[in-house]
Symmetry: C2
Subunit: 278 residues, 2 copies
């Protein structure tokens, strides 16, 4: 396994720890009772519209609003692959992003369904959360354990907002041993949605991809990854039982507790090629 | 600072890492390519009703459903202190909990407001999220830095689902150097809501309390703590800028990055008594 030192070169989109408006210097008092200045991540509301309809206000760090909006709508099933997106307009001052489609979709219907069963709260499920999972078939492609080790080390060493200010989640879209797009956000789902938005914008296929996340492998995260068509999900964090169950149902390779050369694979281990020394 | 060895004795409610139905043994493959069995936390839907109205389906580990339901409704402002709760019925088989009040509240109106501005998603804000913060006045009481150190160490050493299975958040209601109620959940907001439900059930005052959380100090967490009337919020995790801003606005003492005898206080440091050796 080669350790690469050209991390920044290889990302198509890398985190921007120096990015304007992403962190703020804040005055505080340390355990020594003396004033200290530390950098903390921003967290701001972004309201997403689909055509003339207000859909959601998400709390986000604020970068890549267009990808976040498009990815959110795709991941919620409010825009399908068949819908033609005619434009995405972001208004910085109003903190609003509008996604326009050629034909109005059935999002109102979706919205009604969601409201009925969840009523909006942190940590909720949607009425149609499992929708589309029954017919799902994820591609068979193999993944080398040595590539997973290389990715994990590479990602952990990448300069990020997490390393600069903490309190943020990261998600990385990878292909083989190469990390392509590394998104961060205060909401871990936002980071995944930004990846989905980038994939939809660029027409990137999901078949040969792997998703790495710093967050936990809950049911929502597993479902989202599966619906995006990505066959492998890796995390440094742990699992929930339902996340594992769904991964097994849909045949997703689920790897957690990834630290150094240690991990646990709780689903889809048939995709692994054991080419690394133990 | 005395280190106490009678942790379990002191909690009114402690985590139950051996609790039936809270974790599940799952078969997987480790980095050695061999089968391993690990314990992972459960995550199941619980649907909360207020009288005849379905309010939300939360993803929860499943313990203390009555406290979760009551605390959720209180923290969402759907039940106020003035409302008389006449009963809370939990149906294990249906995964439903119904909270009944003497008089029907204006929760339908609240629900409409929320739907309009958030439309339900992970990481959303509510239209009236900041409601009630303007008039809020938190009590002045002091807190010893030595007590915070003692609490932090005590909590970290407490047997918990986190230590047993990971992928779970904890929140502890404390008074002085004493931790009273330690709740855990897959959703960090659920853990806080269970605390709120317990406080409402037992008629416990918030004035002299401190809330400790394993999760990040985001705007939602700060607002929730302030609306619960608890003047001090401590976390081992980091901050977001808006969380800090709101804490300063409402005069909440906000302490993060709490590890061993290290921390950062970014708001309300006037409540601290610096009685610990640096």
């Amino acid at each position: 396994m080669a350790i690469r030192d050209d991390a920044d070169q290889e990302y198509l989109i890398a985190p921007d720890p120096e990015g304007e408006g992403l962190t703020r210097a804040v005055q505080g008092i340390g355990q020594d009772g003396k004033p200290h200045t530390i950098n903390v991540v921003e967290e701001r509301p972004l309201t997403i519209y689909l055509n003339s309809r207000e859909i959601v206000t998400a709390m986000t760090i604020g970068d890549h609003p267009e990808y976040l909006a498009l990815g959110f709508l795709r991941n919620q099933g409010m825009i399908s692959e068949a819908d033609v997106v005619t434009g995405i307009d972001y208004d910085d001052e109003l903190s609003v992003v509008v996604v326009r489609t050629a034909v109005e979709t059935d999002h109102e219907e979706k919205l009604k369904k969601k409201t009925r069963t969840s009523g909006c709260a942190v940590g909720t499920v949607f009425g149609d959360m499992m929708e589309g999972l029954e017919d799902l078939s994820l591609p068979d492609g193999k993944i080398r354990v040595s590539d997973i080790y290389a990715l994990s080390e590479y990602i952990n060493r990448t300069p990020s907002l997490y390393l600069a200010a903490g309190a943020i989640h990261g998600t990385v879209l990878c292909q083989g041993a190469r990390p392509l797009v590394y998104m961060e956000d205060v909401g871990r789902h936002n980071a995944v949605d930004k990846i989905a938005g980038w994939m939809a914008s660029e027409g990137v296929s999901s078949d040969d991809k792997l998703l790495y996340t710093t967050g936990r492998l809950t049911s929502e995260m597993v479902i989202k990854t599966a619906l995006m068509g990505i066959p492998v999900l890796v995390s440094r964090s742990g699992f929930t039982a339902w996340g594992v169950e769904i991964a097994n149902q849909v045949g997703l390779t689920l790897i957690g507790r990834m630290r150094g050369h240690r991990f646990m694979c709780l689903s889809g281990e048939d995709r692994l090629i054991w080419d690394a020394e133990v």
